[in-house]
């Protein structure tokens, strides 16, 4: 039973971390130009997301 007190929060915490990072990327307009982002990786200069 004691294992649950570690494992369940860890499992849910990982899920929450994923959810939070998705929300952050959404907030940061990272899905505005998916095709463009795929091409920009080939540019030489540093050209991070806005």
């Amino acid at each position: 039973m004691i294992d649950f007190f570690f494992l369940v929060p860890i499992a849910i915490g990982l899920g929450l971390a994923g959810l939070a990072s998705f929300m952050w990327t959404l907030q940061n307009d990272q899905y505005d130009d998916l095709e463009g982002a795929a091409e920009r990786i080939l540019f030489g200069r540093n050209d991070g997301p806005r």
Partner: protein, 753 residues
């Protein structure tokens, strides 16, 4: 495009937006920074992004430039009083650009809301499912209770957050005394959650948190995809160049000039209208002679001469010489505004179409809810305790699964919209797809719809190459669209040099060489001998030497690509097809005979509405295909409507579907896809019914447990989605006769017409 006579298309190109117009379309941000959005249809690779950003960043005043490959747009931030020459710079780099509407450029809030709701539902569904699997695999007593409690804790905020999209919509429709699909969904989800919570509190063995949350998750997937497809179509349409002017150069009494937005132009103001500009409001010419292109306004394909006193309707394109006009009406009293009013009136007359999903919901919700009620009553009468009766009743609600029903329609529509998108056809909403499937009468506008958006100038007769070269050499001296077309007709460089060349506005070009006078222009001006055959006076442009005719050029109604095939295909699909045009009888009849269609000519906008209404009254489902301002009310009046990308702004907005490629084949193609989609929707409903027929007796008997419910739900959703995916490649066999279309959707470039 092949044609019997050699010809060249007129390049009716609007000049690049002036600085004032750029300023009007820009948004002021903080500390002196301006943002301008440009639509750049030619962006198609990473290299393009790089070039565009480099070119723009080099311009003085540009703070930053960011190109977007998916939306084919560029956002430029700049400082200063006048905008940097962004459009010319891009044009020079090989990327024709035009201003993008700031009003439609707000960030898509609905999409990010849907995505957030989807993410939350996805997170909750996966975590609850994890716990549920442990319960199903045999967690007992305290462990099970603990897992149920954790599930409840995750489910509650997730339902509140993700479910609100459905709850709000259900509440809105209930408040208006209607039901839609969201009502049974909301009732089902809320009751399921309530019962599960009760079970959890009372240490019950079964809780359905996973069912409630994964139901939301599946439905949100369908809804988000649906929204993305529609948004993509909307963006592609709004990325097209705007054809109506944003403003006009107004000359004040004190002689100063200023660029005013259309809304601020009042009757009596003097407007300077350059060649290539559209008339902003209804006006009267006070100075200058020019030719006008009325094709978008009235459907007339032949240009008309305007001189002092000519009354102009808003939206008319001034072709070759500057005009000074006086506004006779404000924007809201103009021809354009009148069309908008007619559209609204037509809209009101459009019988309110109920989407098939809503009609299904209307049947489904009462049926399922009374089933649940009967189950409850039945078990109570049979003497079982209230808890068992309620559990069975709610199980009925869960397994009848609005899930499959909620996905049945949107999934098919998403797939269909995707197919249409690949064919360059943008559809604005799923309802249009349903209406299109039932169409049995197709009404075409002529100018710009059945005929090509750009008129063609063709050579009449068989002149010597030398004569053509002479015409081309003269035409090279003018920027008039006819001249440019003539210039392109000349095959070989002409060695003639003229002593003097002058352009006579409204008439043509006059050149002198020695004692010879060459004239290229209006036939009645160029040709001295008045006893010529009338055919030659029908010509649009003629070349003469000392008054003797050399060659004539005529304006030809060039059939839009694929028009004949499209008409044949529509006939095969069993649709009655006809032409409804505002152009003159002779021209319309000529085209109608060529295509073998019936026709109505000289139709004013009100006549068009009446004609469409009459067709509808006779019990037909009417598809209107048109492009002009004058078609817009009829587009609204018809059951469903299509417009080419070259259509007027108002026509594009009025139409339910917009096709970006040149070919008219888009019309039968859209109908084929919509009919296939309608079949699949019916199949999906049938699947949902079959599934319910099996599941409901089990639930009524009280034999359903959470594991069974979860399996049933996933299975039914998957079948429906898989069935929807069948719409596609297999169906393309029926349109195999269509000519090969380019892979890349050629977004219509710039301001044609």
């Amino acid at each position: 495009m092949s044609c019997c006579a050699p010809g060249a298309e007129l390049d009716l190109h609007q000049p690049g937006a002036r600085d004032d117009e750029v300023l009007l379309a820009s948004r002021r941000l903080h500390d002196g920074l301006w943002q301008t959005d440009l639509s750049v249809p030619d962006i198609h690779c990473g290299g393009c992004l790089h070039t565009i950003e480099t070119v723009l960043n080099k311009l003085g005043g540009v703070a930053s430039a960011r190109a977007n490959l998916s939306a084919r747009r560029t956002t430029v931030l700049w400082r200063g009083d006048t905008p940097p020459p962004m459009i010319p710079a891009l044009e020079a780099a090989g990327f024709p650009a035009h201003l993008y509407e700031p009003a439609t450029n707000e960030k898509d809030v609905v999409l990010s809301e849907l995505l957030r709701a989807l993410a939350v539902a996805g997170f909750a569904a996966s975590n609850i499912m994890l716990l549920s699997v442990s319960v199903w695999s045999g967690a007992e007593a305290a462990t099970r209770d603990l897992f149920h409690w954790i599930s409840a804790l995750i489910a509650l905020p997730a339902l509140a957050y993700s479910g609100r999209i459905f709850f709000l919509s259900a509440w809105r429709s209930l408040r208006h005394g209607r039901t839609n699909m969201d009502v049974p969904i909301s009732v089902g989800v809320l009751l399921t959650f309530g019962m599960s919570l009760y079970e959890t509190i009372h240490h019950g063995p079964y809780a359905y948190f996973d069912a409630a949350v994964s139901l939301l998750f599946f439905l949100l997937i369908g809804r988000t995809l649906d929204h993305v497809m529609r948004e993509r179509a909307r963006q592609a349409v709004s990325g097209l160049a705007r054809l109506s002017p944003r403003g006009a150069l107004v000359k004040r009494n004190d002689g100063s000039q200023s660029y005013l937005p259309v809304d601020e132009i009042e009757p009596g103001m003097t407007i300077l209208l350059a060649a290539g500009e559209r008339v902003p409001v209804d006006a009267r010419v006070v100075r200058g002679t020019s030719e006008l292109d009325l094709s978008l306004v009235s459907g007339e394909s032949a240009p008309r001469v305007a001189s002092e006193g000519t009354v102009l309707q808003a939206g008319v394109l001034n072709l070759n010489a500057p005009l000074t006009v006086v506004a006779t009406a404000a924007a809201k009293g103009s021809f354009l505004a009148e069309m908008v009013r007619m559209m609204e009136a037509a809209e009101a007359g459009r019988s309110s179409y109920r989407r098939i999903a809503d009609r299904a919901a209307q049947l489904y919700a009462p049926l399922v809810h009374s089933f649940a009620l009967l189950t409850f009553a039945g078990w109570m009468i049979a003497g079982r305790d209230a808890h068992f009766a309620i559990t069975a009743a709610i199980a009925v609600l869960i397994v009848t699964c609005p899930c499959a029903l909620g996905l049945a329609v949107p999934m098919v529509h998403v797939v269909a919209a995707r197919r249409l998108f690949e064919k360059g056809i943008m559809i604005k909403d799923g309802g249009a797809l349903e209406r299109l499937a039932g169409v049995n009468a197709v009404v075409f506008d002529k100018t710009g719809t059945l005929t090509s958006a750009q008129p063609r100038l063709t050579v009449q007769g068989k002149p010597d190459a030398d004569v053509l070269a002479l015409a081309a050499a003269m035409a090279a001296h003018s920027r008039h669209p006819y001249s440019q077309a003539v210039a392109r007709l000349g095959c070989c460089p002409h060695t003639l040099t003229f002593d003097a060349v002058s352009e006579v506005p409204g008439n043509g070009i006059e050149a002198r060489r020695g004692n010879d006078v060459y004239r290229l222009g209006r036939p009645d001006w160029t040709i001295a001998n008045r006893r010529l055959a009338s055919a030659e006076f029908n010509a649009t442009v003629a070349l003469s030497v000392n008054g003797d005719i050399q060659v004539c050029f005529g304006l030809d109604d060039q059939l839009r690509a694929g028009a004949e095939e499209a008409v044949a295909e529509l006939r095969r699909l069993g649709a009655f097809t006809e032409i409804l045009s505002g152009d003159s009888d002779a021209r319309v009849r000529k085209l109608a005979q060529r295509l073998g269609l019936t026709s109505v000519a000289n139709a004013r906008p009100a006549d068009k509405i009446r004609h469409v209404e009459a067709l509808k009254q006779a019990g037909n489902k009417v598809l209107m295909v048109g492009d002009g301002l004058n078609d817009a009310p009829a587009l609204r009046a018809a059951d469903v409507s299509m417009a080419p990308a070259s259509a007027s702004d108002i026509g594009r907005n009025a139409a339910d579907l917009v096709f970006l490629r040149d070919s008219l084949q888009a019309v039968p193609e859209a109908m084929i896809v919509s009919r296939a989609a309608a079949t699949l929707v019916r199949q999906n409903f049938a699947l949902a019914v079959v599934y319910n027929v099996i599941a409901i007796p089990l639930a009524v008997a009280g034999a359903v447990n959470p594991l069974l419910a979860a399996i049933a739900m996933s299975l039914s959703s998957l079948t429906v989605v898989a069935n929807a995916l069948r719409l596609g490649p297999a169906r393309q066999a029926s349109t195999a006769s269509a000519p090969a279309v380019p892979e890349e959707a050629p977004l219509l470039l710039g301001a044609l017409k």
